[in-house]
């Protein structure tokens, strides 16, 4: 169907102007949608359990950090149904499940690093028996006062990695010389992933040292490698498989490995299949979260709000180990500019060690925290100058001649200013802002606010070696196709997008392309499905695999039918060979008869990216993705309660591979970001114990938190300048940061309490945080 109206969330259509028979650009349903709604899509806990499967439950000491004085597990062992109790001493190989730095013990050895750390694991006949037994341990810890907050860690000088800094120009001098100067501190909370499916793994022992692990993981290759290392077996003895996850969001990038390792260890020790499925409270207490930050910023600007210099200290709570903190904090720095040009800048990051669970990847990977600082500066400059923050934002956007980032990369294309202008118009921003000014001028308890904020997000892993992917495509002699690649499906629709790419290549229907589980014995050494790169990388690798086979088929057809290769075309499930056509299946059959391979791998390595961390130079990103959002809120300034009343979004997904899937990423990302900035609050006590360890106390958005007036459109002429897969743009993470518009809108509402003053609002803007900021405004006034 052809249509030229923009694709919006009220009318999701195929991309306009597609050729008949095209697959790429169709607004197809998620490949598992029909199974999702019937409950027949299987997650790890739904797989048939091999006979004799045992169940593993983790046990912890319930104490803050400190050396383990004694460990009495007799009652655990004696508990009904218990088959084995595992401790660090049972691990045949290495006791580590860290992604790189060797500092994440699978089972605590000698010392507790954080409250909730796994010390032992119970293997029992049922999950219930294992959980009950796990509570019978008596572990004595010589607990020491733990460092819980960023401030605690900084006071102690504790870091998981050395500090890092970008510097461009002379920011100190630029700020000193600026007509206006501002500084401030903002605290930015962390976030629990709250994937609906908790961490889970099923390990099935094979012959000798072989082990097959079904894991709910974004990184099967890493799980494979860590399980092998833990078992003391070669990588080749271990297969990791993942058909789908019930959500990941970064929380199953490095964090899935520990549970897979425990399942595999239990299987090795008992010789029986073993399954781990974490209870939600354990999951929340034992796995890492988004980093919370404390940021001190200073900036100078002119009378129009145009920045002249920026100096920011980004201090992040990393927790008890490095995990992915180096990359997360680098990305926070890379995004401390969001979409704004800083003529001079110093961006410094400290990676603070605390005695709390190790923080990890979460959609945006530090980017959101960095960008919040940029938006705070925009709001602060505008409020102090009495200007419309949108005007200040627009003046500061990157543009021709103002296009070098603090890390020296040039911003090559300027989509964001267009997005902002268009959304300003379609959202009716100016008139609504005037109406709000009139409303607030009446001076009541309720205040309203509106903000329009941009997003610019760098696409590529900043660790260069992760920018590669492999795929494996098989064509069978009936013309059906199997595609496999290193990417994992966590709900983001990667598999259907890749299937569309493959179907397009063969000119067949997407339903002829069978999606299979991600398996390390099919595509080895894959990077995690992360950094929004899933379809960029795997789509391209699968495209290449399919293209190889297609070339072979075209050559064969040309030879058999005595035509030139250029006269062979693939479309509509048929192959046109000169004047004749045969079905794709017939050609596949011919290929077999003629002994032409119908299987191929494909491989892709992202071009152009380079980043030299030591000299802080290079091009860390292939391109930038972008969007803009406008949010309006109402705030009760006597209770701090807040409602988001309307949201407009315009997002650039490039030439969308699948507009329905991309729309889902945009809307879902926005709401997840809104939760991070409003109701989702992680509270730790002074021992480092997480108090908000369940959905009863940790509040992600519900349906009613999403405004009924939620208008999302895909940017119509979107097209990637870089030769990405069909010129699409990555869309997994960037939309999360559209929610910064909600935070700024609340800031706007509060600013009306004392014009000219910057509301000291911290994130998340819970009712309490909002009321605190409101009271501070009134006290100053």
């Amino acid at each position: 169907m052809k249509s030229s109206a923009p694709i919006t969330n009220s009318t999701i259509t195929d991309r306009p102007g597609l050729d008949p028979g095209a697959s790429v650009g169709l607004a197809l349903a998620h490949d598992s949608a029909a199974r999702h709604v019937q409950g027949s899509a299987a997650y790890v806990d739904d797989l048939p359990e091999p006979a004799g499967t045992l169940h593993v439950a983790p046990g912890s000491a319930g104490a803050a950090r400190g050396p383990i004085r004694s460990m009495d597990l007799d009652a655990v062992r004696a508990s009904p149904g218990v088959a084995a109790v595992l401790t660090a001493a049972d691990i045949p190989g290495e006791n580590d499940c860290s992604p790189a730095f060797g500092d994440d013990p699978i089972l605590a050895a000698g010392e507790i690093l954080f409250h909730g750390q796994v010390v032992f694991a119970v293997v029992a006949a049922t999950r219930d028996a294992a959980r009950r037994a796990a509570r019978r341990a008596r572990i004595e810890v010589a607990a020491r006062p733990p460092r819980v907050t960023v401030d605690d860690g900084l006071a102690d000088g504790a870091e998981v990695m050395p500090p890092y800094e970008f510097r461009r120009g002379a920011p100190e001098a630029a700020i000193a010389a600026a007509p206006h100067r501002l500084d401030g501190r903002v605290r930015i909370g962390g976030q629990e992933h709250f994937y609906l499916e908790g961490q889970a793994a099923l390990a099935v022992p094979g012959e000798d040292d072989e082990m097959r692990v079904h894991s709910s993981t974004q990184h099967p290759s890493e799980v494979q490698h860590l399980v092998a290392r833990m078992l003391g077996a070669p990588d080749a003895a271990v297969v990791c498989e993942c058909r789908r996850m019930g959500g990941g969001f970064g929380g199953k990038e490095s964090q899935a490995a520990q549970w897979a390792c425990l399942a595999a260890l239990a299987a090795r020790v008992t010789g029986r299949p073993a399954k781990v499925r974490l209870d939600r409270d354990d999951d929340m207490a034992m796995t890492g979260k988004r980093h919370d930050f404390r940021v001190d910023w200073r900036c100078g600007f002119d009378g129009g709000g145009v920045l002249t210099g920026v100096d920011a200290d980004l201090d992040a709570r990393c927790g008890c180990s490095a995990d992915l903190s180096p990359g997360v904090n680098d990305r926070a720095m890379f995004h401390a500019d969001n979409a704004y040009y800083y003529p001079a800048a110093r961006i410094r990051s400290r990676r603070v060690r605390t005695d709390t669970v190790s923080n990890t990847a979460f959609r945006g990977f530090g980017g959101p925290q960095g960008m919040l600082v940029a938006e705070r500066m925009m709001d602060a400059a505008a409020i102090t100058l009495g200007l419309d923050p949108l005007r200040v934002r627009k003046r500061n956007l990157y543009g021709p001649g103002r296009d070098v980032t603090p890390y020296g990369m040039r911003v090559g294309e300027h989509v964001v200013p267009r997005l902002v202008r268009e959304l300003e118009r379609t959202s009716g921003y100016a008139a609504r802002r005037r109406a709000i000014a009139r409303f607030n001028a009446r001076g009541g308890t309720l205040r309203r606010g509106i903000a329009l904020t941009p997003v610019k997000f760098g696409i590529s892993f900043t660790l260069r070696e992760l920018n590669q992917a492999g795929a494996l495509v098989h064509v069978f002699t009936d013309g059906s196709v199997q595609v496999n690649h290193g990417g994992t499906e966590m709900g983001q629709g990667l598999h259907v997008k890749v299937a569309q790419v493959v179907a397009e290549e063969f000119g067949i229907g997407v339903d002829q392309v069978r999606i299979t589980a991600t398996r390390t014995d099919k595509v080895p050494n894959a990077p995690p499905t992360a950094a929004s790169s899933g379809s960029d990388l795997n789509g391209m690798a699968a495209h290449r695999a399919a293209r190889t086979i297609r070339r072979r088929l075209a050559a064969l057809a040309a030879r058999l039918f005595q035509v030139r290769e250029a006269e062979v075309g693939f479309a509509g499930g048929r192959v046109r060979v000169g004047a004749e056509t045969i079905s794709f299946g017939e050609l596949a059959r011919l290929a077999f008869t003629e002994r032409v391979s119908l299987s191929s791998t494909g491989y892709y390595a992202t071009p152009k990216v380079s980043w030299d961390r030591d000299t802080a130079s290079g091009r860390p990103f292939l391109y930038f993705a972008g969007g803009a959002a406008c949010s309006e809120v109402a705030v009760d300034t006597e209770t701090g309660e807040m409602r988001v009343e309307r949201v407009d979004v315009l997002h650039d997904a490039g030439r969308s591979l699948n507009p329905a899937i991309d729309m889902g990423q945009i809307e879902g990302g926005f709401v997840q970001g809104m939760g991070w900035l409003t109701t989702e609050e992680l509270v730790f006590d002074e021992t480092g114990r997480l108090l908000t360890h369940a959905p009863s106390t940790y509040k992600i958005p519900t349906c009613s938190d999403v405004p009924a007036d939620f208008r999302v459109a895909l940017f119509e002429p979107g097209r990637n300048r870089e030769p990405t897969i069909h010129r699409s743009k990555a869309v997994g993470e960037p939309p999360l940061m559209l929610a910064l518009s909600v935070f700024s809108a609340i800031t706007h509402a509060l600013a009306s309490l004392s014009p000219g003053r910057v509301p000291p609002l911290d994130a998340p803007a819970t009712p309490e945080a909002i009321l605190r900021a409101a009271d501070a405004m009134r006290a100053e006034a």
């Binding site: 997650y43 739904d46 609906l196 990941g248 709900g491 709401v671 369940a694 519900t702 349906c703």
Partner: protein
């Protein structure tokens, strides 16, 4: 006569269970015993909705489906019902149920793990006989969390398929199902499975319940298990003896008299809602925000009181309304003002073996104005940081009498006696004098810091709520005083 078997309908067949652990949940039955794996566990505490299933019951002779959280629903408590799960909806040939079709068409699943729960919640909305609008959908789905989609497509799917007209296989065989459920209920026998050391018992009469509770004073009395379920799934408490109140018809009764409403202790929120909502729109809004559809389909006002929690939403509201409760130990009944039931943190005026039977709520008089405000981090399905409830009698523009109670401000739900005294005599046209009355709250309460809110916030907002109540009673429309839950909208 006691029956020793739990019976319920599944896929048109009668399932019989005996000799199960008294604390076995419906989710365990489905996933571990039936291996019906469509229903998911996301939290095992009633908060995420991934485990939502539909329970069919006879309501005034007609079959009605309600969503419940299978994770905290005790297996024994579903005796006599039909259990419908996501595995059951599509037709044998694979034809999707209208709700499933609408969700697929709207692109309403991503990772799909929440989806079975949404399907079942929407299945009950589909059968509810109402044309859905966004407010209804929001409310219906408040107990289903989705981390992927941002809900918009799910809400759109609901709007598309829930027109109030059910036309599926379940609607077609509703009369047959109703007949079979009625047959199950015939004879209304007592249910007792297990032995004296470990049992699940559900007497069918109030006398039987009182006798059993008194005979086993250490047994756990269970109504909807929206609290007790978590003791089982989270605290792993051994509860060998369970006495379930849900099969006593007289305890489900709601009586609406001219001067009062009487609520049986086993009446679910869903059953009690219409009568309570009629007392004041704010009570309707409080109940709408109490838990979720699933929680309100199972949980009871009686349980909310009997658990003695300092943060239960209904007790402060009922205290402000001047409610009394009736308790029964064997054959001895006594009544007491609800506020006197709460002695201290975790301590109530209830003897071992004594059961709560009834709650009597006086209707506010003509000159009496009622307001209540729930304040929580999230609007829907969240536990209150605090809740303030106000009943003020106004005479000639002055507060002639004040009854004010708060939850979340002390170790129990509690009246603000000092603030009541200070508020008495205030003029509605003299807001300048109100803050002094609010100062008295500091003499009434010293709230605590916890993960929901700090003590300072609680005290600060307690003051705001008193001022808000006065302002509204003085005539300010709630559109000027609230960001949500407008009274005018509810009244319209």
């Amino acid at each position: 006569m006691s029956r020793h078997i739990v019976r319920f309908l599944r896929r048109g067949r009668l399932v019989e269970r005996r000799g199960f652990a008294p604390t076995e949940t419906l989710l365990e039955h489905l996933r571990l015993r039936e291996r019906a794996l469509g229903t998911k566990e996301g939290c095992a505490e009633g908060d995420c909705g991934a485990c939502t299933v539909a329970i069919g019951r006879l309501q005034s002779g007609r079959l009605a489906y309600e969503p419940v959280n299978a994770c905290i629903q005790l297996l024994g408590a579903i005796d006599g019902t039909e259990v419908v799960t996501v595995d059951d909806l599509a037709e044998p040939g694979g034809r999707l149920h209208p709700v499933q079709r609408a969700l697929v068409d709207a692109h309403a699943s991503q990772c799909g793990f929440c989806t079975p729960g949404f399907v079942m919640s929407l299945f009950t909305l589909y059968h509810a006989g109402v044309r859905a609008d966004r407010a209804i959908v929001n409310d219906w789905l408040a107990g289903n969390l989705c981390r992927c989609t941002g809900y918009r497509p799910i809400a759109d799917a609901a709007l598309a398929c829930c027109s109030g007209e059910a036309d599926d296989a379940y609607a077609k065989r509703a009369a047959e199902t109703a007949r079979r459920l009625a047959a199950l209920a015939e004879g209304e026998d007592d249910l007792f499975t297990g032995n004296e050391d470990a049992f699940f018992a559900a007497p069918s009469t109030e006398d039987g319940l009182a006798a059993l509770a008194a005979r086993f004073p250490d047994a756990t009395i269970v109504a909807g298990a929206t609290d007790v379920g978590l003791w089982i799934t989270k605290q792993l408490r051994e509860l060998p003896r369970i006495v379930h109140t849900g099969r006593v018809a007289s305890l489900h009764e709601i009586r609406e008299e001219d001067d009062r409403v009487e609520i049986g202790a086993a009446a679910t929120y869903a059953e009690a809602e219409p009568a309570l909502r009629a007392l004041d729109p704010d009570i309707g809004e409080m109940l709408r925000r109490l838990g979720s559809k699933q929680v309100r389909a199972a949980g009871t006002v009686g349980g909310n009181i009997a658990n003695g929690s300092p943060i239960g939403d209904s007790p402060p509201v009922l205290i402000a309304l001047g409610a009394t409760i009736e308790l029964r130990l064997r054959d001895t009944r006594r009544t007491l003002p609800l506020e006197d039931f709460f002695l201290d943190y975790g301590r109530q005026d209830r003897a071992p073996g004594e059961i709560l039977t009834r709650i009597v709520v006086p209707r506010p008089g003509p000159a009496e104005h009622f307001r209540c405000y729930k304040v929580s981090k999230r609007y829907d399905q969240d536990i209150s940081a605090l809740l303030g409830a106000f009943r003020l009698r106004i005479e000639r523009g002055r507060v002639a009498e004040a009854c004010i109670a708060y939850g979340g401000m002390a170790a129990t739900p509690k009246r603000a006696r000092n603030a009541e005294r200070a508020a008495t005599g205030l003029r509605l046209d003299e807001p300048a004098a109100w803050p002094a009355a609010a100062d008295a709250l500091a003499d009434d309460f010293s709230p605590i810091d916890d993960h929901r809110a700090s003590a300072a916030y609680r005290m600060r907002v307690a003051r705001s709520l008193l001022a808000k109540a006065l302002a509204e009673i003085a005539g300010r429309p709630s559109a000027e005083t609230r960001v949500a839950g407008m009274r005018e909208r509810a009244a319209a």
